[in-house]
Symmetry: C2
Subunit: 423 residues, 2 copies
């Protein structure tokens, strides 16, 4: 591993020196073109150098120099030429699965999970353990998270991957400085800069630290890995014990004017409704959150859900159990009302149901769609589609892990000249 | 008037020629600097040329040349020097009240109004007539609007002002092409490109035509003329028969992703509530719209409000009439719930109560603020102020009139080289 790190550093330093010897304007141009070429390689599979030249409008010679830099920096690989029937063989390019990797952790209300993704976005290692974190002291929750993350970090290291950053997802409002401001369902961690603290507890080299709302990270994962190229304006609804949302506009997270927007879970759907953990009444969470759903379906009485309760809910709904169907119908209606407010404000074309709601989608899509049709005033002109996330419950932790690697794909020269250049 | 128009044209053509003789890059620079200087003159009163040079960072000589161009184009005036006690006299600059003017029309549910603003933003002529436009054929509504607008146009013309554009405010969803898509309270005009049609009916030269939602225009007026320099991120709530909202972020209108966002009036505050004109149930309009308010206070039984009913509501509230106070309390609570959803999405710092709600503010600010405090989940970190519009019921029509003149202030070279250059 030491040797490997040194290799990275030496390559990066060479590139830094090469860049430094160019006049400022040329340097900027090279940085720009490096990013352009890398984004193209990331966005399509198996491009050849020649195809890259066509797509970017750069000369073949320039493309070749840039691709060589990216290969040297371990960001890109080139497969052996596949000899076609006609013409010269093309060597297909791709992101390097042995290049820099990202570590992600999700600390949610009733579980902690972690994963490592490689530069291609593939999840290489993953681990979860379930426990009601509301009943555990916050230091212990952090310790569990650090232990799990440490195990995965080691696995990555042993496989020769360099972990370049840590992303952490939490179920609450996170400010621009990465401090978890408010988490009605996980109060112990309020006021904590979770990624910084976890990074210190890990005690390993990590270039980039970032904490964000779990629904925001799941929304980014959906955008990056959801397999739908046209999905760049949508609200991702994350069903857990809390109800979260991540808004993506033009492929970027929309966080509201001061950074604490996008809060779906505490939109009021019934002003006189049940008291919510946030102190308000009739929030969508009090009808459509996991606990509210399980209680209404007769599957939960105490604070902690019985193991497998969500699977039982699915089974009962499949068996047309009246209480289960009614709970799901009510939850879907409440989600539709709250999403109606969001879409009346934002005029977005797509709603993605994720987390718990992906699993429950067969019973939710109908009522959600019906409420949106009734309640979004521009519905007749601005069509709205309700789709289901294919990423499952891993979306958030995968997004957390991938923010470090996506950052490299967006700004490769920061890596070539920066974080990988440490000796 | 012919002579005056010719003067404008001659000056503008001279400027166009002067610009055209410069190399492209220098032309762009001059355009940029002209706009910069004009915006400075517009944003502060009584600047001198020397102060302008300090503020813009341009040389005094450059500033003087640009100011001369702006004076020649009738955009700026320079008062006679005021001799101070010390130093050389300064000649204070200001926008020219005899420069280009804007015509505005508001077609709302129960009135039509129009006004002319000059380049300083001052309302020079104003007219309104009240009638329930839901009971009148849309062609007649348009005719009334055209007649009123025509009268004001003539007044401006007779006073030597040149009207350079027409803005029209309507109570509904307007798309980017200026077509009124949906107006639940004024269905007759749905599908009409209102500004284009009205412009044709006027039959007068009008350089710029624009139709927009009445609340959007009122929000712009609040931003431009509300007298608070720090107000650039806010939601303006327009209380009329309908309930509208205009969202301003960073001094610009926010229209949502596809242009039909910002709809406050049809956010659900009670899913099982009254049927709304839009077809949904329990929209904020069914509790806080003018009709709902007056009916609840016992001041309206039929469809049309008795003349002066809103004033009577104010008097009754002042006299602590129980029905009036309860109606206002309920309306304020409903507005707070709907605004809570907006602010949970957008995390905006300010709410401005306008239209009807400005007059009723003494009874609304309390319940609105209380609901926001309870229902906006980031409230403790992101403070929210609820303020009252000072522009009264003229806000929207004033904004409609001023979009043409503000456009000139933002892009003076379009005028110098474009619309005023017609012979």
């Amino acid at each position: 591993m030491v040797r490997r790190s040194f290799e990275f550093a030496a390559q990066a330093n060479a590139t830094t020196r090469a860049l430094a010897s160019l006049p400022a304007r040329q340097q900027l141009l090279k940085q720009h073109n490096l990013a352009l070429v890398l984004r193209q390689i990331a966005s399509a599979e198996n491009l050849s150098r020649a195809q890259l030249a066509v797509r970017t409008g750069l000369t073949k010679a320039t493309v070749s120099t840039l691709v060589d830099s990216l290969i040297e920096a371990h960001l890109v690989t080139e497969r052996d030429p596949e000899r076609g029937l006609v013409g010269r063989p093309a060597s297909p390019l791709g992101l390097n699965p042995d290049g820099p990797a990202g570590l992600g952790v999700e600390i949610n209300v009733d579980y902690v999970s972690a994963c490592v993704v490689d530069l291609t976005g593939a999840v290489r290692w993953h681990g979860t353990f379930v426990s009601d974190n509301r009943l555990v002291r916050p230091e212990l929750v952090m310790k569990k998270a650090a232990r799990l993350a440490g195990r995965l970090y080691e696995k990555a290291e042993n496989a020769g991957l360099r972990v370049v950053g840590l992303g952490v997802g939490v179920p609450g409002l996170v400010d621009f400085d990465g401090v978890l401001h408010r988490a009605p369902n996980l109060r112990g961690l309020e006021g904590v800069a979770v990624a910084e603290v976890l990074g210190e507890m890990l005690g390993r080299p990590l270039g980039y630290l970032r904490c964000d709302n779990e629904a925001n990270l799941a929304a980014l994962a959906e955008h990056w890995f959801g397999g739908r190229d046209d999905l760049s304006d949508f609200v991702f609804v994350s069903g857990e014990i809390g109800v979260g949302a991540g808004i993506v506009i033009g492929g970027e997270l929309f966080r509201g004017v001061r950074g604490l927007g996008g809060e779906l879970g505490h939109v009021t759907v019934d002003p006189a409704g049940l008291r919510c953990s946030c102190g308000s009444r009739g929030c969508v969470e009090t009808v459509a959150g996991q606990e509210a759903l399980l209680v209404a379906a007769g599957l939960q009485t105490g604070r902690a859900a019985p193991t497998g309760a969500v699977d039982t809910l699915v089974e009962r709904a499949q068996a047309k159990d009246a209480a289960a169907l009614e709970a799901l119908e009510r939850a879907g209606r409440a989600l539709g009302v709250a999403l109606g407010a969001f879409l009346n404000v934002l005029d977005l074309p797509s709603v993605v149901l994720g987390g718990l709601y992906a699993q429950l989608a067969p019973w939710l899509v109908g009522p959600v769609t019906a409420e949106l049709r009734d309640r979004v005033v521009n519905h007749s002109w601005s069509s709205i589609e309700v789709v289901v996330s294919s990423l499952g419950s891993e979306a958030s932790v995968r997004g957390a892990a991938a923010i470090s690697t996506r950052r490299i794909i967006d700004e490769p020269t920061e890596v070539l000249g920066g974080s990988l250049a440490r000796s």
